[in-house]
Amino acid sequence: MPDLQAAVDDFVIKLKRRQVEGSLATAKSTVLLLRQVVSHQRIPSSGPASSLIDAVKSVGSRLIAANPMELAVGNMVRRVLHIIREEEATIVAAQVGVTPVSDSDDDADVHGVPGLSAVALAAANRTALRAPSLHNLLESLPTSAGANVEPVPESDTKSRCKSSDKNSKSWKLKHGVIDAIGLLLGEIENYHSEISEQALEHIHQKQVILTLGRSRSLLHFFREAKKKRSFQVFVAEGAPRYQGHKFAKELAAMELQTTVITDSAVFALISRVNMVIVGAHAVMANGGIVAPVGMHMVALAARRHAVPFVVLTGLHKLCPLYPHNPSVVLNELKSPSQVLDFGEMSDCLDGTDGSPVHVVNPMFDYVPPELISLFITDSGGHNPSYVYRLVAEIYSPEDH
């Protein structure tokens, strides 16, 4: 336990100090940490899931508070919670003798009625487990509302059927959760290859592509496409971090015809560009994205010239939150010295009555879903209007 605490504290400090940055790195570290938390957690026989959930929630809220802009952390916490709930539901369903169906989320929010028979409970579970699809709607549900396992005093319902295999159940839950977390980890690490497989579908011969800044998934995407197609890329440098420079170098090393342009020239050149492909920092539940600063301007220019704006993202970047006032809430203002050096304007400021120059250096830009043409994720290509379904699949509404 104490090492776990130490590990958690260590990670929290790293997040606060921005020593760990970037969705992939933070997502991986979060998942690993949570796996540790789950494995160390001593599961009481009564209510195994809720104890796991509480443990994960407490660690998760600390991690999220450490760096609220690193949405991948929160995403992973919610994914793990969803996994726990799913596993729980599967096990309960199996226990009652119903074959476990493929998971979905428990979307009902209604408290179970205490004293409900186990069979009815299981049946309700079963319907709740299935995705709300058309044939579900046509079936009649055993109760007016789906049952939710959580708030029911579990001792009552479970004591009747599970007294004998209590320990094995909690063991099964833990084991299942850890397995699923392993799968999640694998999914995070391999999302590059999943996305790159779709590269040839989107890039044709002699295409001209524009991008801003640097994105690892985009690098793999281009590498895959380069094997069969020849195309050229304009890279906008992406002030004030100038990641575009590094990206252009990497692309040129791959023998891809690359041209570096300044961000101000994006509007000038975009009429000759066939497609804009970018990476994102996070995808919000309404289909909008949080991307490095400048992306909104590029998206507006792309819409003006009817150029498709394609976003590459892994599912770990998908956030179940809705962006209210994104420029303030989903943004971070970095040091003004990146834009204007300290002391550079000081010679004009002496002698005035101290009206200092206000330098604005936001880190992110919010791009609304109307400007985005397509999301390419590891589960295929999607419209921005479909994102809410993806959110519903991988997250539980209780955790939002």
């Binding site: 304009f234 440098e237 992406g238 002030a239 004030p240 100038y242 420079h245 590094k246 252009a248 170098k249 692309l251 040129a252 090393a253 023998e255 891809l256 015809q257 690359t258 041209t259 570096v260 342009i261 300044t262 961000d263 101000s264 020239a265 994006v266 509007f267 000038a268 050149l269 009429s271 000759r272 600063v293 400048g294 909104h296 301007m297 507006l300 220019a301 003006r304 420029s327 943004n331 990146q338 834009v339 204007l340 050096d341 550079e344 304007m345 010679d347 004009c348 400021l349 005035t352 009555d353 009206s355 120059v357 206000h358 330098v359 604005v360 250096n361 936001p362 830009d365």
Partner: protein, 511 residues
């Protein structure tokens, strides 16, 4: 050796550097039809016919044809033919003009007839600007290069293919070569260091460059004496052409400069023969002065007067880069006591916004400074956008520093009015739809480092990679629908009125 004349422009604020170098010219013939389209070429052609008789012309053509044949026979084409240096002659006739039927010069008998036939056509097309030299046409580029004063080392290795039709950037290392080349010949006239200042981007900005050039021309006129047996107007025009070719080699001419030169040449062409040399010179000098005063200095005062009425207390005004007119507007508004805030948006690689920022801070204005990527973030607080322009084209497109289009687009998206402050002398009859067909390429190496931040060295050695190119555009074209209003000295007009102003206010009898 003549002393280097000093440039003195009193009430003008523009960027200057303290180092000056002396530039020399050679007398060379530059086919000005490529650079300076306009009706005066036709005027000159007709003058030639009036002055020389038919027999003389035929003799000239025969000798030219013979020389050409001889040259071709000897396997190497020369362009130095007898009679070439006659002021006003254009031995290549209208061959150079694209889109016009190629009339061979050596068909002497038919030439006059063809000219007469062609002239009315030209009259109709007078208003259309002539096509410019396109740099992907190899023959023409080769010809131009042979006649150029400065050697153009076009590095075709690192050319961005999309911009092949534009002249590639000439690095200022030519300075040394220029000095050595022209210090030798002392029959050359000393032209002030204006050209070299353009080359090193010391003088920047449409108004500044135009004013500096006009000052240089004034000096040149004052020092000028007509050589014997030459007609002043033609000789002077030839001299101007050579000077202008030098300037444009240093850095492609801005539209403001082109318009000024056109009007000046028109004036030269209209000089009455009865004037003495001194009178002619003084009239030319006064024309130049009036041009600068009326079209630039007083026009700016008018623009400021109009624009200041648009700024109200509590405004947040956004501007991009550095435009001297916008700076004057903001200073004046602040000096008459309006309470407003300014947001200065800057862009790489020139970072001209910092100059504006300095000047506004020194006057005590509240300023916000940011880079072009953050313009969507900051636009929520902005109430008005004031932008400057290098030129406004006949279809209402604003041709301005790169990045202006992005700022105007975002402002339009947030429903913020965009106001362009531009003098009418910068308007041009040309039309343009995008920023690629016509632009100016800047120094690609300017993109490599980041000013003030030494840790960005990724692109050092970019020219070693065959696949990596750097593109540094200077201008971009803002579509007319992003512009709410253009503030000129004639008033505040919508962008659709630009061709009307061109037609009504720019007819030849003005100056």
């Amino acid at each position: 050796m003549r002393a280097q004349p000093t440039l003195s422009v009193s009430e003008w604020k523009f960027q200057r550097s303290t180092t000056t170098k002396v530039a020399f010219f050679s007398r060379n013939f530059w086919d000005d039809r490529k650079c300076f389209p306009g009706p005066e070429n036709d005027a000159r052609q007709r003058k030639l016919k009036d002055r020389t008789s038919k027999a003389e012309r035929r003799a000239l053509q025969e000798s030219q044809r013979a020389a050409k044949e001889a040259a071709r026979a000897s396997g190497n084409q020369t362009f130095f033919m007898p009679g070439m240096w006659e002021a006003g002659t254009n031995p290549y006739g209208s061959n150079e003009k694209k889109g016009v039927d190629k009339k061979p010069v050596d068909k002497s008998g038919e030439k006059d007839k063809k000219k007469e036939v062609v002239v009315p056509e030209k009259d109709k097309r007078k208003d259309a600007p002539a096509p410019r030299l396109q740099f992907d046409d190899e023959q023409k580029v080769a010809k131009a290069r042979r006649r150029a004063i400065v050697e153009q080392t076009t590095e075709t290795k690192h050319r961005v293919e999309l911009f092949r039709h534009l002249p590639q950037f000439v690095p200022p290392t030519q300075l040394q070569a220029l000095e050595e080349k022209y210090l030798q010949n002392d029959t050359m006239h000393i032209h002030p260091a204006v050209g070299l200042k353009y080359l090193t981007w010391d003088i920047v900005g449409g108004n500044a460059r135009c004013v500096a050039m006009l000052e240089a021309f004034k000096e040149m006129i004052r020092d000028y004496t007509t050589p014997p047996q030459k007609v002043m107007s033609r000789d002077l025009t030839a001299k101007i052409n050579s000077h202008v070719s030098f300037l444009s080699t240093c850095r492609p001419l801005s539209i403001s400069m082109g318009n000024a030169i056109r009007s000046f040449k028109l004036k030269i062409g209209k000089l009455r023969d009865t004037l003495t040399e001194a009178e002619a010179k003084s009239s030319l000098v006064s024309h130049l002065e009036t041009f600068a005063q009326e079209k630039i200095i007083l026009a700016d005062k008018e623009i400021v007067k109009h624009a200041v009425t648009k700024i109200i207390d509590g405004d947040v005004v956004l501007t991009h880069g550095f435009s001297c007119v916008v700076e004057m507007v903001l200073s004046h508004a602040h000096s008459i006591g309006k309470k407003f805030r300014v947001v200065v948006v800057d862009s790489r690689p020139r970072l001209e916004g910092r100059i504006l920022l300095r000047s506004l801070l020194a006057q005590g204005l509240k300023c916000t400074y940011t880079h072009i990527n953050a313009v969507t973030y900051i636009m929520q607080e902005v109430t008005k956008v004031f932008l400057g322009a290098a030129s406004i084209l006949a279809n209402g497109t604003v041709y301005s520093r790169v990045g202006t289009a992005a700022a105007a687009m975002v402002a339009h998206g947030y429903r913020v009015p965009v106001m362009i402050c531009c003098e009418t002398y910068k308007f041009h009859e040309r039309v343009q739809l995008d920023s690629i067909c016509s632009n100016e390429l800047g120094d690609p190496d300017a993109l490599v480092g980041v000013a003030g931040r030494k840790e960005f060295r990724e692109l050092v050695g970019w020219d070693e990679s065959e696949h990596l190119r750097l593109l540094n555009l200077t201008y971009d074209a803002t579509p007319a629908d992003y512009v709410s209003m253009i503030i000129t000295e004639h008033g505040m007009v919508p962008p659709t009125s630009v061709p009307v102003i061109l037609r009504e206010y720019r007819k030849e009898p003005i100056l």
